[in-house]
């Protein structure tokens, strides 16, 4: 696998983990049944990221406001390093995300994809579709009642 493909996979994985509901991530991780030995490179740390927008949607960047983010980095005993970044302030979720990332880097990507990442992605997609379906139902269908003459 080329480096670019590897980065694409890792980006997808970390992005999914970042947005996973904390309780759901914890449940899937527990069901996966692994507690790999690891050392903590960076203990779970709560911080913020400044979110930027653009003036007029397309112009100069400006600071919209911050969002809370928690991050954690670990190293497995075999040397694989994992990074976890999650939205919000759930320290356990950040550590779990880092462990999943490291295990995936260490060759368990397929098993993790099937047991944790795909379910998370499917659930997120279902939630998004359910909102979009409600939005679509509020779309206005104009029709002309009377057209004035002259």
């Amino acid at each position: 696998m080329s480096e670019i493909d590897a980065n694409t996979d890792r980006k997808a994985r970390l992005s999914t983990l970042a947005q996973a509901p904390g309780a759901r991530l914890a449940a899937l991780w527990q069901a996966f049944g692994r507690t790999p030995e690891h050392e903590t490179l960076r203990p779970p740390e709560i911080g913020t990221v400044m979110v930027r927008g653009r003036a007029g949607a397309v112009g100069a960047p400006f600071n919209l406001g911050e969002m809370s983010v928690t991050r954690c980095s670990i190293r497995l005993s075999d040397g694989a390093v994992g990074h976890g970044y999650v939205q919000g302030r759930d320290k356990q979720a950040a550590r779990t995300a880092a462990l999943i990332d490291a295990l995936a880097e260490a060759g368990e990507a397929e098993a993790l994809e099937a047991a944790i990442l795909r379910p998370l992605r499917d659930e997120a997609a279902a939630k998004r579709t359910a909102r979009a379906a409600r939005a679509a139902a509020t779309k206005v269908e104009f029709f002309t009642m009377v057209r004035g003459e002259g």
Binding site: R10, L14, R54, L64, E66, A133
Partner: protein, 362 residues
């Protein structure tokens, strides 16, 4: 002049204990959970996130609970908490064109591509109290239909393609940040937009309303208002590439305003912009109007002396935490200040009385 005195400690402790009791209210009534506030008072949560300048619904809900529903107090709590956190970095500018829209309306084009999506709106409700909500019962399920696919294009994009609307200048990659440096004037547009998006909703609304009533009129049309979710991406230094750090809900308003033209430029519409955390459309529309009003210089318009055109006035008074801090501090002890004033007025009165008595005697 400030002089330290002691003696209020017990009274303060007891006052805070009573505050906690009052916050809880009647104990025969069930206590509200943070999750209930987050889910059922979500527009209050959105406002606290926007003005607190921190996107974290759980934290905003907790702040509302702690503040007993006092929104500015809740914003204050969020701001104070935020200052204790390290900042990991800044996101890529969010792409509002890629938003999954809950709501998207245009007041300028009936048949806008992507359609008029009303979303969960108070518009067209009769504003009659719904007594059914006082009784417990399940909310009805909202109807669903086949979701739209693909991106919803920006209305201003169509006008821009024909050069009918001003182009937005690119600006610098790293905008100035008023949470990191003191506000000074003249402020550039990114700084103004940052101040407006975290500004007090009531203040920004009133400023916008004043332009509509004639104090710096700029003839706005809501070209587009959209509310929805989009991902936030940031480059992670240890990885060397960007990941999505999360998803946020934002409200965006683009106004299409009165056109300008000159000898070199053919007539074009101008624009105002509002972008705010959460579903906060009153604020986003207000922000766009005030943004537009403050662009008078850039667009070669006259300064008619309207408050909304005065960036120093707007930006110095839009922050409700600053405003309330300065306003409310006057209720705290000023015994020594007042004592000196009291002595001064007694002396002046004594002198005036003495003069009057002397005049009467003469």
């Amino acid at each position: 002049m400030y002089v330290a005195v002691k003696g209020g400690e017990r009274a303060i402790d007891n006052a805070h204990a009573w505050l906690a009791e009052e916050r809880r209210g009647d104990r025969t009534v069930a206590e509200m959970s943070v999750a209930q506030i987050r889910e059922q008072l979500s527009l209050a949560v959105n406002r606290v996130m926007a003005e607190g300048s921190l996107y974290d619904p759980d934290l905003a809900a907790l702040a509302i609970k702690q503040a007993r529903g006092d929104m500015i107090e809740a914003v204050f709590l969020i701001r104070a908490y935020r200052t204790t956190l390290p900042r990991f970095g800044a996101s890529e500018p969010i792409d509002t064109g890629a938003m999954t829209c809950d709501r998207r309306i245009s007041a300028t084009f009936k048949d806008a591509p992507g359609g008029q999506i009303l979303g969960p709106t108070f518009d067209y409700t009769h504003r009659l109290i719904d007594f059914a909500l006082a009784a417990e019962g399940d909310a009805p399920d909202a109807p669903q239909t086949t979701p739209q696919t693909g991106k919803t294009p920006h209305i201003t994009g169509f006008l821009a393609r024909e050069d009918l609307i001003q182009t937005e200048p690119a600006g610098t990659e790293t905008p100035r940040d008023l949470t990191r440096e003191p506000l000074d004037f003249p402020a550039d547009r990114p700084l103004k937009l940052q101040a407006l998006t975290r500004g007090d909703e009531g203040f920004v609304l009133s400023m916008a309303y004043s332009t509509q009533r004639g104090y710096g009129r700029n003839h706005p049309f809501v070209g587009e208002l959209r509310v929805g979710q989009l991902p936030v991406e940031m480059e992670i230094p240890e990885l060397g590439f960007a990941i999505e750090l999360g998803e946020i809900t934002v409200t965006e308003c683009e106004t299409v305003n009165q056109f300008t033209g000159s000898k070199t430029e053919p007539p074009q519409f101008t624009r105002g912009y509002g972008l705010v955390f959460g579903h906060t459309e009153r604020k986003a529309i207000s922000m766009a109007l005030v943004d537009r009003a403050m662009r008078w210089q850039e667009l070669g318009e006259d300064n008619v002396g309207a408050p909304a055109q005065d960036e120093e006035f707007v930006l110095s008074h839009s922050d409700n935490v600053q405003a309330t801090g300065f306003l409310e501090h006057i209720k705290l002890p000023h015994y020594v200040d007042f004592q000196s004033e009291l002595e001064l007025i007694r002396r002046l009165r004594a002198e005036a009385m003495a003069t009057r008595a002397q005049e009467a005697a003469e």
